[in-house]
Structures are given as C-alpha cells and as structure tokens.
C-alpha cells in the first residue's frame, strides 16, 4: 500500500493543483453564464412582477398585473397564435429537411465539401439580411416567386404574397427562417450519422435489410441525439423569431411574433415590466417544450 503524500510536499501540492484545475478551467465560463445569463434572468423574473414604466413612476410591486395585461392585449394574443404556427412549420420543416440533407451528405462524393459550404451560407447570414433578400423574392410586381408562379399560370402577375392573407404570410415568412436554420439542423444530424459504425449497416445488408428499412431501423434511431439537439435549436429559433417577420411584414398583426411584441412593449411603450413578463413567458414556454422534446426524442447511444 502506497502512503499518502505528506501535506505541503511537492507531490501533495501537485495533487491539489490537479484537483482544482477543472474548477479553474470552468470558472470563466461559469462567470460568463452567471453574469450574462442567470443574473439577468433572475432580474427578469423579479421585475416581471413589478410595474416598471418610466412614464408611470414609481416602479412598484404589481403581482400578476403585467401578466393580466398581456393576456388582455389582442396584439399579444394574436402574436402568440402566429408564433405557434412559426414553431410548428419551422421545427417540422427544418428537421425533416435537415435529416434529408444529412442523408444526402453522409456518403463521400465529388463536390461534397463545396455543397456543405454552400448549404451553410444561409445559416451564416444575419436574419435582417435574409429578410431584405427575400423581400425582393416576394415582391408582388418584380419578385422572382411571382414571376415563376405567373409564368406557370398558378397566380396572376402582381399577386400580393405577404400581408394579404394571414396564414400565407406566416408560412412564407417561416420559409425564410427555415432556409436559415436548416443548415445547422443538417450539420447536427450529419455529425450524429458520421459516428455510426459501418459494420452495423453491413451486417444489416447481409441479413437482407433494404435501404429504406436500414434508414428507419438503424439510421434514424441512432441519429436521435443529433435530431433532439436539432429540434431544440429549431424550437428556440422559431419561438424567438424576430428579424424575418419584422423586415418582411413590419409590425402588421398578420405576422407579428411574440418577440416583436416584447420589443414594442419594452422599447416603444417603455413598459419594461410588461416586457419582462412576456420575456419570462417565452422562456418558460421554451423550457417546457424543450424538456418535452428532449424526453420524447433524445436517446443515449453508445457504440
């Protein structure tokens, strides 16, 4: 049996240093998260119960007053409905497309690197830039989409795509966000697929498993960790969508999102308490839905 190193001995100091090293390494990140995420989040929670409006001083405790006002505000309620559609369309489409692109990119082929670089471009672009770009595509008189639709006799020239019909407006706006977030979903699922052992697929093929069966029974189950993360990132992005509806459709209720309402309530109306309360609601909804998704989709996979 080896004797424990004496306290103060070089060996003992090295032991302490080795033990404290992980904490030391984690400290900057912990300080960052506590200072820039958890403290403001705690502040948001507390302030959401206060009437904090510089136009109506002083700041005072208001219980659930901010929340009551939010649920009596038609613009907020409409934006909640809009956001639910953004989430449903965005999460489903970006995940399905992400899986599709991951499957396509899984095997090496000529030009794969270039294709991945092109695929990632929309993700790298700021939402505002994408909004401006797609404003041109959706333009009723000179837009690409109207041009294609009218040449196919599917729509008359000059048809208004955005702002006229609520559901069409939401879907078209969300398509722009799907275009932005799908690359990350594809890369996350692709990363999970790259870890899958080829022997499994070889063994399955020997046992008579076809391509479709192999995809359903091996690829998809093993990709679940990647898919779960992809779904959560899509969920967070769509629940917090701001740039695309704001640039493409302004403040119109046909497409406004809850984060747009947070902006208007906080910085246009200067009702910071209401803004905090709506931020808190978005956070709680994001947390709950993310937890449900993770529990439903995520599975631990060991190779």
């Amino acid at each position: 049996m080896k004797a424990a190193p004496a306290a103060g001995s070089p060996e003992g100091s090295r032991g302490h240093a080795a033990k404290s090293l992980p904490y030391l390494l984690v400290t900057p990140l912990a300080v960052f998260i506590i200072g820039l995420a958890l403290v403001p989040a705690a502040f948001t929670i507390i302030e959401s119960f206060y009437r904090a409006n510089p136009l109506d001083p002083p700041t005072r405790f208001d219980g659930l007053g901010n929340f009551r006002r939010l649920f009596a505000n038609n613009a907020v309620l409409t934006s909640m409905g809009n956001t639910a559609v953004y989430v449903a369309v965005g999460v489903v489409l970006s995940t399905v497309l992400g899986i599709f692109f991951a499957v396509v990119l899984r095997r090496p082929f000529r030009g794969r690197g270039i294709l991945i670089a092109v695929l990632i471009l929309p993700w790298a672009l700021p939402g505002v830039v994408e909004g401006i770009l797609w404003t041109g595509i959706y333009d009723p008189s000179s837009g690409l989409l109207n041009g294609v639709l009218s040449s196919l006799h599917l729509a008359s020239h000059g048809s208004v795509l955005l702002g006229d019909n609520r559901w069409l407006t939401i879907i078209l706006i969300e398509l722009v966000q799907v275009w932005q977030i799908t690359p990350l979903s594809a890369l996350l699922v692709l990363a999970a697929m790259q870890l899958m052992p080829q022997e499994l697929f070889q063994a399955a093929a020997i046992d008579g498993c076809g391509a479709w069966q192999s995809f359903w029974r091996i690829t998809l189950p093993l990709a679940r960790p990647g898919i779960a993360v992809a779904v959560v990132q899509a969920l967070i992005a769509t629940l917090n969508v701001f740039d695309q509806p704001y640039v493409l459709n302004g403040a119109a209720t046909t497409g406004s999102s809850v984060t747009e309402q947070t902006y208007f309530i906080s910085f246009q109306n200067l009702d910071f308490g209401g803004g905090y309360a709506l931020s808190l609601l978005i956070t709680l909804i994001t947390m709950v839905v993310s937890l449900i998704v993770v529990r439903a989709v995520y599975r631990r996979v060991d190779y």
Partner: protein, 445 residues
C-alpha cells in the same frame, strides 16, 4: 473490436434537458440593465465627445475644422433609426452613458420631455433668439423647454411627375384633393400609369405620417390638445383621410403590392423609377436628393413639388424634422452644446447642403433648418424647387398642437397596424378608426 449499442433514457438525457433550459434562459435574458451614472464634466476643450445619429458622418474636413476651432474631438457613431431609439431608451432607463449628443425625433418629443431624459437646450444656447429663423424649433418644445434643435428641415410635401401629368393632358396642377384624385384617375384611364399614386401601406411609421398629412390637408388634426381623438365622426378630416387612402388602394390608384411597401421603398422603387406619378406625402428635398440623381432615378428633371392639395385649396405641410439633443447621461454636456451650436449653425448647414462645393456637402442632408439659409440657397439657384420649399417651410406646422403626446409611439403603432389591416381587407375603415380611437382614448385617460 467490440462495440455495444444501447438506447436508454438516462442521466445524459437529463443533462441535455438541463442544457436546453440554460440555453433558453440565456436567450431570454435580455431584460437586465446595469445602473450607474456618469459624472458630467463642464470641460469644453481637450475632450472627445460621442455623437450618435442615424446618419453617416459629415465630411471629415468639417469635423476636423470644428476640432481645430474648439479643441473638441468628435467620435461619430452611425446607428439605424430603430436601433438608435432602442439605445436611447435602454441607456436612459439604465442611467448609462452612450453618447454626448444624439437624435431627438419629433415624434418622441413628448415622451422624452416627460421623462426628462434630455437637457433643456436653453441651458446652453439662446433658443429664443434662434426660434424666428428656425420655425421647426416648435416641434422640439415641450413644457416650455427645448429638448433638441432641428439640424435639418424635413416636412411632408406633395410631389408629381409633371411629364406624366402633361402626357395625360393635365397642364394645371391640382389645387384640391378632389382635383388631385380626378387627375390621378385620368392618368390611370389614359394608361400613363397603371397605379399612379404611392401610399406606403406597410405597417410602419410612414403610413401614420401619410395619414396625418392627409388629415391636415383636409383641414383637421388627429388629436386635440388633451390627446383625445378628433377623427371618429365620419365627417371629420381624419376619418375622410383614412377613407380616401383605403379607397385609393381598393380602386387601384395605389398598387396592391404597396401593402408591404414602406415610405422610402415607395419613393425609391415606384416614384424614382417612373411607375408612380405622385406621392401626396413625400419628403422635402427628395427632388434634389433622389429624383434628380441619375444613378438612382429614371425620372430626372420630371418631378416637381406642388402646394399640397387640400379640401378647398393649398394646405399647410406637417413638419417632421430631425433634431439633436444632449442626454442627461452625457459626459461632456457643455462640449456637446458647443458641437450642436456649430452643427446647426446657418453657415454649416449651407455647407452641408452642398452650396459651397461637393467636398463640403453631407451626402444625406435634406434641407437647412434655418429659414434664411433656405432662402439664400433658393435665391442663388442652389436648391431644386427652392421657392416652393422655402414658402412651405415658413408655413409648416407640427403634427400635434402642443407637441407629440408622451404615448405617441404606442398610438402610432395602433394607427399603422389598423390602417394596414384596413388596406389588407382584414378590417373595415370604421373598424380601424374605432380601434385607433380606442387606443387614443385609453392612452389619454
């Protein structure tokens, strides 16, 4: 090589869920603000001040000359208008320094005045002496205090493409709104322009401004002195203005696609490209700075200002100038005041307007806020449509008697979202008017 495959719900699942929670918190944690105030210094030399406006920096030589003259160095920060308004609110609410001089928009004067976020300019400059030559100073006066000085003279005007009007056989420009509407219909029926009128129906500030201008032209105002609506009766100017605007898009005078066109987009893509023949509520200065610029326009020398057609004749123009003020968190308020004095001086404005050569011109500058400067420019022939503009500037009025109310941004949001909805067909004009009136009544009470 032995590999095992397992698929279980376990600790890692919970860890992933926890990570999602932290990520959600991190994304939502945008509401916090630091507190603290800067100790203001009375220094007026040897300091660097930050000037933040929604405009690119003026010519370097001009700023260098100011530094040489005063010993004050200027750090210019250009931020888009919406972000700047957010920054002003966030910095003031958190009592944090971000600029020594910044934008004071006419529409926020009531709000900013009530909040006391800006120094009264009369503490530093003789605003009473400036007022006769700077008529739009009224737009920045609230509670007897001037919280910003107009550095340009922006007001709403009517522009027409004279060549298109002439082609349609219209030689006398319309003097009333009825004549104007009739002329636009003539342009349409003769095939000169499929949709001759540009109204920006996107749910944004430009739509509200258009409605105010039309209401004013019909002889009314939107709100009374106490902030109560004056547009609920079908016979009121505001009601008729809303009906005229919505009718214009329903009957095709305005392209249907304008449902998502903002004011500046319409000017650049419809009027400057010769698709629209007129804008009823255009920006003063646009003829010289946009329509007569060959690189951005296909209607060079075709667009003219006309006196705004009103109910019975020429109507007054609403002023919406850009102002500059000193936030209470400024580090060097006296130095900032010196800068504002220089920046808004008549000589400097003439330079910015390009009268003394392109090297001294400020590319985005609209029109001097000094009446004498506008008149001098018009006399020298340096201002496109100068005679018309100087007459309009002299009679331009603030949109709201007694200044914009402190809740103006919320009211404006209601105006543009409801008029947009009426244009899109999801609301009728009476419904939109009722919704806007309810907002005004709720906010004013």
């Amino acid at each position: 090589m032995a590999r095992t495959l397992s698929s279980t719900r376990g600790r890692q699942g919970r860890a992933a869920a926890a990570a999602a929670v932290v990520l959600a918190f991190a994304l939502a944690a945008c509401g916090g603000g630091s507190s603290g105030s800067s100790a203001a210094s009375g220094k007026t030399s040897g300091v660097t001040i930050t000037v933040t406006l929604a405009a690119p920096a003026p010519p370097k030589d001009a700023l260098a000359a100011f530094t040489k003259q005063t010993g004050i160095t200027v750090k210019w920060v250009d931020i888009d208008w919406d972000s700047l308004q957010t920054k002003i609110s966030a910095a003031a609410a958190a009592n944090t320094y971000f600029a020594d001089a910044t934008d004071v928009d006419w529409s926020r004067v009531g709000q900013l005045g009530k909040l006391g976020w800006f120094y009264p300019i009369e503490q530093f400059l003789d605003t009473k002496a400036l007022a006769p030559d700077m008529p739009q100073i009224k737009s920045f006066t609230v509670g007897g205090h001037v919280i910003g000085l107009p550095y340009d003279a922006s007001f709403m005007v009517t522009t027409v493409n004279k060549q298109m009007f002439t082609k349609a056989g219209i030689t006398t420009m319309p003097a009333t709104l009825d004549e104007y509407t009739s002329d636009l219909k003539k342009l349409q029926s003769k095939g000169i322009s499929a949709h001759p009128l540009d109204i920006p129906f996107a749910a944004a500030e430009g739509l509200s401004t258009y409605w105010y201008e039309t209401t004013g032209a019909l002889g009314g105002t939107v709100l009374d002195q106490s902030g109560k609506p004056r547009f609920t009766s079908p016979g009121s100017a505001g009601y008729k203005a809303a009906e005229w605007m919505i009718n214009a898009i329903k009957t095709g005078l305005v392209p249907k696609g304008n449902i998502n066109v903002t004011d500046s987009q319409g000017m650049q893509t419809l009027m400057a490209k010769g698709q629209a023949a007129s804008i009823y509520s255009d920006y003063s200065g646009n003829v010289g700075s946009l329509y007569n610029v060959p690189s951005s326009s296909s209607v060079v020398n075709q667009v003219k200002y006309i006196p705004t057609p009103g109910a019975t004749g020429a109507a007054a123009n609403w002023s919406n100038p850009d102002g500059i003020g000193i936030p209470k968190q400024a580090k060097y308020p006296k130095a900032a005041a010196k800068f504002i004095q220089w920046f808004t001086s008549e000589n400097q404005q003439v330079d910015f307007a390009g009268v003394n050569g392109p090297s001294k011109a400020w590319s985005t500058y609209a029109l001097p806020s000094h009446l004498s400067a506008v008149k001098a420019m018009a006399a020298k022939g340096n201002l496109v449509g100068g005679d018309a503009l100087s007459a309009m500037l002299a009679t331009s009025k603030p949109v709201f008697e007694g200044g914009a109310p402190s809740w103006y941004p919320q009211f404006s949001n209601s105006v543009y979202t409801n008029l947009h909805a009426a244009a899109a067909g999801s609301e009728t004009v009476p419904q939109a008017i009722t919704a806007i009136a309810n907002t005004a009544n709720g906010l004013a009470s």
